[in-house]
Amino acid sequence: MEMFDLIAVMAKILFVIAISLGVIPFLVWFERRGSAWMQGRVGPNRIGPFGLLQTTADVIKFVCKEDFVPKNANKFFYHMAPTVALVAPLCAMAVIPFGSYLVLGDHTVNLQIANMNTGVIFILAFAGLEVYPIILAGWASNNKYSVLGALRGSAQIVSYEIAMGLALLSMLVVYGSFNPHEMVAWQNETIFGFLPRWGAFVNPIGALVFWIAIFAETNRLPFDLPEGESEIVAGYHLEYGGMKFAAFFMAEYVAMIMASGLISTIYFGGYGFLPGMQTILNLATEYFSLGVAGVQNVKALLEFTSFFSKVSFFMFVFVWVRWTLPRFRFDQLMDLGWKILFPLSLINLILVTLGVYFLN
């Protein structure tokens, strides 16, 4: 491997981690201000401009707290759980592309940490790992409520992974590829001349199932049963305090970012241009009289903006739904997963397959 590639990969990893961890304080702030806005409150507005530094203050508090471990906890698994929780979704982000490529001198830099042909499988594998921290935390804490939360969480994530996998599979049939770049390229066309050929428009049922499933995968309301603060107190992370709790908290947000990135890439055109961006690119090309490399770099920048705004939109939807809906009950959650989403996504898969077979 050339030195340049090595540095490029390092820089990309740093960029992705910095962005996804760096936006968490902002997201937490947004969640709190957003909920306050929906609930007719003010929300945190004291520390920093518009209360933006509130989360920083929270982090300082978390770091300074006592590192408490319950007496009868299984120490190894107890400490392992928050680590896995944070690392698994971060790893999954490696294959989500946030732009096409940059041109730097003779080199091109692919705006994706790892360009794998099995990209989607990789994401599913690491998203599937999210079940382990919940089981580990619940079991190792040696607390009945934690175990209840762990049982709920593991069953929930495993069940919804099936619906999610089937919804994903129906899109793979359409794209005929596992590679996220090719998926985005496929979606860059238009249908009927005006509608972008996004996965969500081609396969709306799949998009809906996938969208519901990522709520369950990320343990957000209305599927926050593993935490269920009023029922099983705090569920699997009941016995975690200080920075270990913060790790779970951050893991939830990283998982949300990952899920938003995934749904944007697979169903909403990924880093493909939003309507109007082509005009901006044309204008910029004329105004600065850019060369081929320059055009590509501006294009990559615009693509990143497009991807970022899509992810932001889905993050907003996460917050919006959370503060609107009540929580499901466990059996109702299972009913929804197995009796509605699973058959629906299966039928959808068959229909999509038939459609692809006859149309091509």
């Binding site: 209305p222 009540p326 929580r327």
Partner: protein
Amino acid sequence: MENQQQDLYNPNVLINIGPNHPATHGTLRVMCRINGEVIEDANCEIGYLHRAIEKLGEEKTYHQWMVYTDRLNYCSALNNNITYAMTVENLMKISPTDRCMYIRVVCMELSRIIDHIVCIAANALDLGAMTVFFLLIHWREEAYTMIESMCGMRLTTTYARIGGMSYDLPDGFAQRLKKFCDEIPKAIDEIEGLLTGNRIWIDRTKNVGVITKEDCAQFSVTGPCARASGIDMDLRRDRPYYIYPELDFDVVVGSGGDVYDRYLVRMEEMRQSVRILKQCNEKMPNGPLWVDDKRVLIPNKLDVYTKMEVLIHHFKIFMEGIDVPKGEAYTCTEGPNGEVGFYIVSRGGPKAWRIRVKSPSFTHFQVFEKTIKGGKIPDAIAHLGSVNIIAGELDR
């Protein structure tokens, strides 16, 4: 451990819900034997907030004990104040003035709205709908601000006095009340929009925590919980007190007896309370606030400072207490949660011989133990929120 053969399919896990649990809203304890999430057996324990309030009633004068009634159901302190004052007045054969009765009805209906707001909000919060909680609590604060303007207190009001009220209504109260009555139905509609037709809310509450008619009769469940089960009983109509016969309102009756029906009954009762408040606001008579009875009349402060006889009278009322004749009385009103009653035995003198409180939460908690068996933990939480068990009233 050896003689206990472990049954892997039913490990008989014991779990404590409370006394320190986010959903218990106070200190009460439910010990559950669970199989998975299903509660197979439950045992409720009370007494964590026992403060011997009834016993204290034998040591305090009638006026001094008024403050303890605030601490029974602290969500509807006004209703307790007034019911207690009513009981003592019945013992003394005093009937309050017209204006006093109207003010008292306004107070009781305000406290009913507050109590229902707290119940629905907390119930929604327990089921994960946090926004509903905040939207409703805003209106509780508005109501508290109005109560503050009446008596200077928000939560523990101590507004009633035997024979009258501690203060008359403040200036501009009619406009404030009118504004409140105009605005709160909109808020109730908003909450209805968020919850009543919400699929998740219906799934979580329908056929959950069912209290049947028979259960109500056996456990003497009263108030909105009984009405939600289809028992058409409302003391405001069936055993009318004060000016309720002159007022036009409907008694809300449900049919299912589940959490959803209790929610609907409470929502509609808030609307009916607003109706009553509006009528009271229109009809509010002028005239004296206090009964013209020397035994209980608290003199005007200006007279106390300027007239010798009045000063002595004031001193005697507050240092010795009022002399209540021999006898016993039980008076109950339709509290927000159900029948709130005070039973007082007097042997004469300024202190009661015995005081007992009939609190609706006590009976509701009894039936809770029966109805959660066979349900799941989230059902128990939904049920607990919907019967509005207030620990202060439960344990006394």
